[in-house]
Symmetry: C2
Subunit: 148 residues, 2 copies
């Protein structure tokens, strides 16, 4: 099972702006982008597109299962191209870096917890927040710069 490379396969009319958004999502290295970041990148690439269209395209992609929307902390939703592999996320509280992981034990526990409580599990959201200790992460500074 792989994603349809063509929008029509997802039931969407194949328009230029949609193709541009999809293409960007397929080729960009950071898989988790805000709508505005996508919009800016397209403008920088010389494309003519409106922010509203980016939002519309992403919402449709999400409905079609091409894209997943996440609400990490910080107000702005981020979108990622769906690859058919469920995973959860860990986000660095300092630099915003996002990594993905999958844990079968947790998934099973979630299912049995929902059952035990009388729910039919439909979805879940699990995001861990931590400090990533990466060399470029501002959280790694031994001492902050003098105030001011």
């Amino acid at each position: 099972m792989h994603q349809p490379k063509h929008l029509q396969d997802a039931g969407l009319k194949s328009t230029l702006p949609r193709l541009k958004v999809l293409e960007l999502l397929e080729n960009v290295e950071d898989r988790h982008l805000t709508a505005e970041a996508i919009y800016r990148k397209l403008l920088e690439a010389g494309e003519e597109i409106g922010l509203a269209t980016v939002y519309r395209a992403l919402t449709q992609f999400e409905a079609a299962g091409l894209v997943t929307r996440h609400h990490f902390e910080g107000g702005q939703a981020v979108f990622e191209l769906e690859r058919g592999l469920h995973h959860d996320h860990i986000v660095c509280v300092h630099c915003g870096r996002v990594e993905e992981f999958y844990d079968k034990v947790i998934e099973k526990r979630q299912q049995s917890i929902a059952e035990k409580l009388g729910y039919t599990l439909r979805d879940h959201n699990m995001t861990l927040y931590g400090e990533c200790h990466g060399p470029d992460c501002p959280g790694q500074k031994k001492k902050g710069p003098a105030a001011g």
Copy 2:
């Protein structure tokens, strides 16, 4: 360890609006309320309070550890009085009912996943979404009302 019953114990000046908000949170049966719901309930109870004050009080309570803020789906944050017992939530996608649970296995897995990925875990957000099958839940209707 129990919560300070007095705002001063939490480092906050004891003002009438803050006391009203705290009192409401302590006495209301639904432990998960939006700021606006709290505001409305206080107005209905005859209190004079502004929505901005409710938000401010909640933000301060959160900073003081008296209250926890959750971002479930739906745009509006919900607040709950902190009882010192960490837990996660399961939310009914039909009626919005919220239940709490705690699973030691999941907590431990989260910790070890973060470590394995090189993160120091600071926080996490885990919310399950499901159908609650409660008798009053609209999701239980055998057939929806005729359209229109």
